[in-house]
Symmetry: C4
Subunit: 300 residues, 4 copies
């Protein structure tokens, strides 16, 4: 296959195409289309990119199947050259029309864009190699950037806020879990022994995690009476503490939500006419910032 | 079996029966009985239909069992002819007594009613065929329509509201899950290889979903140390993010519920006429802020 | 074994003992000890009964183990005669000292008490028979009665209230689940076929329940690509709707709890000096019931 | 190996080193470093101890793997002598510089410290013995003490409070679960019999716990139709009551959290000096009720 031996000429051709495109469309307009989602062209570009990402990931996934790989090897190679070329073109365009190309190249999504476009193209001789597979799957990360531009940004922010607010609680919870799981794993290794597959402490810890998270594969499972009693205790424990992360996030989400809805539902004053302060306790009669009298909002 | 060769005459006979019934009962009264649940006859009709649906689904289920199918083939055929005839009769009656037959025929439940009655009758020669099985199981969808008429409409609405209000959050959550699961699946395919059954990326994704949802069949499970460490991380992750959908719906339900119950519990005054204070304890007779007498809101 | 042939004389002896005990202790005092938990003797009786129940259930459990059954058959028989005699004595005493013996005998716990004491004694020749095993395990139900008398009644009530308040929502949720599970089970039976163990629709339904509840035994699991895709969708669905029952109960518990704590935390007035009304909105200046001025409670 | 025969001289050498160290650093300063986390030296000591604990647990874990044990036996022995010596030195130092050595030695962490240091040293001849393994894993418990000193104390306290507040509810919930699980286990033993692996009532109980907690190993699973129907009911039950512990903790966390965050977020005025209104928005400068100037509360 001649394609495999020509990654550098291909890249040069793509660069030329990118430069021509910038010339034709204009750098500013190109930036609007690629980096923003406000214009119709920008939205269409995002949708096309989204479709391309999904298709390329589907192709990588199907290619990994041994039976399909054997039958359609040529097709998969051609598809991958096509996808990689398009993503490389996009990456080059982003670099060429960005206002600060260097800071884009160094940003998280800049690195993801680079990894998902140029290396797969250079490594086409190694199609099917497992390490390139992961790099190509990285393309999925780009979906998040498109979403960030899109409609769901507020919902994502709400979720992120709730998770961030519970960050420390979740960290300490995970740390306690890890501690607990190591203790339980070592204990089960001693109690149960090799009969049930507990061949070492790491295996015991693996079992403890599989059990306490209620995943329960069953590849390692206790068979002795004492081991089963201990395992039952671990399961009931896991069942009880599953409540903790749920509780943390729920309480946090509930709070964000409640505050939001309270502010919205508040039949209180619209805002202070003197200083403009918008937030007041329900029932406030004086502005808590400037002390001016508040005019109650008429009830709906 | 002669029955199998006569679906068209049977349908014609059912149509004649439906026309006669409309004549005998009267179109208006028939509509009340079939489409509404306010009258005693309407309630009895719904209950009978509910029983018929449950029985027909039980029959389809038992028929699918190979050992039972062999022994009671004749019985199942006769039962199915009976059930399909009754459902066809019901469908024809609905068409004949509806005020706008066409809009009924095109509605969601109209299509379900049609699929669950006429095609099974026409396809009786193919009893046991798997595709007709699904069509016949569709009858269960009708249960929801009966419920919509029945007692539990408010509870169902409350649940639906909470789900609808969290719709966008759940959508973005599922989208992130799909993204995550593809990344994890590809990574595990590379890390673990064929030893643990990770034969392709789609299999890896299947494993990731089985694991992150804590289902954990164990048909695909990591066996290498590195694979087990990665799997443990995935499980703890799944265990942590199970909190997110729970939190979303809980927060939503809590909000709806609180508002709802507050509104329900406060048949109290609309607001104080003197000072405008909107919030009062249920049953308050005097404004807690200015002491003025409150005018009770008329109870619904 | 002579014991087995003498259940009737044994019962008569127990009746005589019960009558003598009533004579010796006095009917009223006996009723206090047995039916109430306020006196020290009543508490000791409850504790002894609790220990007896736990021991008898442990004995039944161990007896069911084939290897232990073979070795200790005589011991188990003697233990069972002893336990059954004591429970029979207790049942007879309850009957003899209750104020309304008939209404006790007909009550839920009266029936449980009877089943757990007399039939096992009469059926001693059939020790090891599986049906008597269940009857003897019923003794555990008595633990709930003891708890009802004991310390945890308020916590149990709070839980019960929350569950009762969500009763209708949970019912409609379960009904939708059953519907959903039948539809999914039939669909998977058609999609997946016998390869993955989906031999009939009931098996498919069983698989759907195992999967949607995230139990995931793995005895039935999809193996075809299409089946695995469908199964993945079912898992993500189950993962999402697990939030619904949680949300329902949490919202309910949170409400009960919040109301309680709000009343407790309220830095508002102690209560109206004029009319004695204890509950006021935080910040209330006038009694919402009688309109009198409220004296603010000093802050802690 | 000569090391194994010399635990007593080694301990004496460690004691001498500890005494010398106390002499050199000074008792008071040593106490600050070891028992507190306020000084830079104290923080560095805690971090070093944390690293040592993690490393020693990793070593114990790897040692338990049969293949690694065979190859690196000498290395593991030397590592264990090193770790145990360091922990013993730490324990002796704690004893020597504590203000009340006896009360430290009797405290929970004093006992854990002792078990994790001296016995492993004395038992070095039995390295690889499973019972010493558990004692050495106990070192992990020390992590919690370090955390108690560290940054996350508030989050841990918040979690602990919520769990403590729900203690009684969780206890009664677990008790009901145990009762339920025994009843279900006995019933399934009778219904399903030995075909599905239900060889005794304890096995049935084990299955019930595995199922109701949604772990689902699949080592014991029903195969008869009746057994599968009963199992389905148990799963739906488990799916429904998983909501209860979640609800309890969530409600508790939500309550604590709301109160806590409100208190934390309002470094605002204590209350209005003019009208006594206690609730103000964070940063409020004027009373929202009477308009008086508020005196800011000093920030902690």
């Amino acid at each position: 296959m001649t394609l495999l031996t020509l990654p550098i000429p291909l890249l040069l051709a793509l660069l030329a195409a990118a430069l021509l495109l910038r010339q034709a469309v204009g750098r500013r307009r190109l930036r609007q289309i690629i980096f923003e989602a406000d214009t119709p062209a920008g939205k269409q570009f995002d949708l096309a990119l989204l479709a391309l990402i999904v298709l390329s990931v589907v192709a990588v996934g199907l290619e990994s199947d041994p039976s399909l790989q054997g039958r359609f090897q040529g097709l998969f190679l051609r598809l991958e050259v096509g996808f990689s070329s398009l993503f490389s073109l996009e990456y080059l365009l982003r670099l060429l029309c960005s206002e600060r190309p260097l800071s884009y190249a160094r940003s998280f999504f800049g690195i993801v864009d680079f990894l998902a476009s140029i290396p797969p193209l250079l490594g086409l001789g190694a199609v099917g190699s497992k390490y390139f597979t992961v790099i190509r799957i990285l393309r999925l990360m780009r979906v998040f950037r498109i979403l960030k531009l899109g409609l769901y940004i507020r919902e994502a922010d709400r979720l992120k806020e709730a998770l961030l607010a519970s960050r420390r609680k979740i960290f300490i919870f995970l740390l306690m879990m890890v501690n607990l799981v190591v203790l339980i794993g070592a204990l089960m290794y001693v109690i149960e022994g090799e009969a049930g597959g507990f061949t070492s402490i790491p295996t015991g810890i693996y079992w403890a995690i599989v059990t306490i998270t209620t995943v329960g594969y069953g590849d390692v499972a206790p068979v002795t009476p004492l081991g089963r009693i201990a395992a039952s205790a671990v399961m009931l424990l896991g069942y009880s503490i599953i409540a903790v992360p749920t509780g943390i996030v729920t309480a946090e989400l509930g709070r964000t939500g409640t505050d939001g809805s309270k502010a919205a539902a508040s039949p209180g004053p619209k805002g202070c006419d003197s200083c403009g302060e918008p937030q007041h306790l329900a029932g406030a009669r004086f502005c808590h910032r400037c002390g001016a009298t508040l005019i109650p909002r008429p009830q709906p």
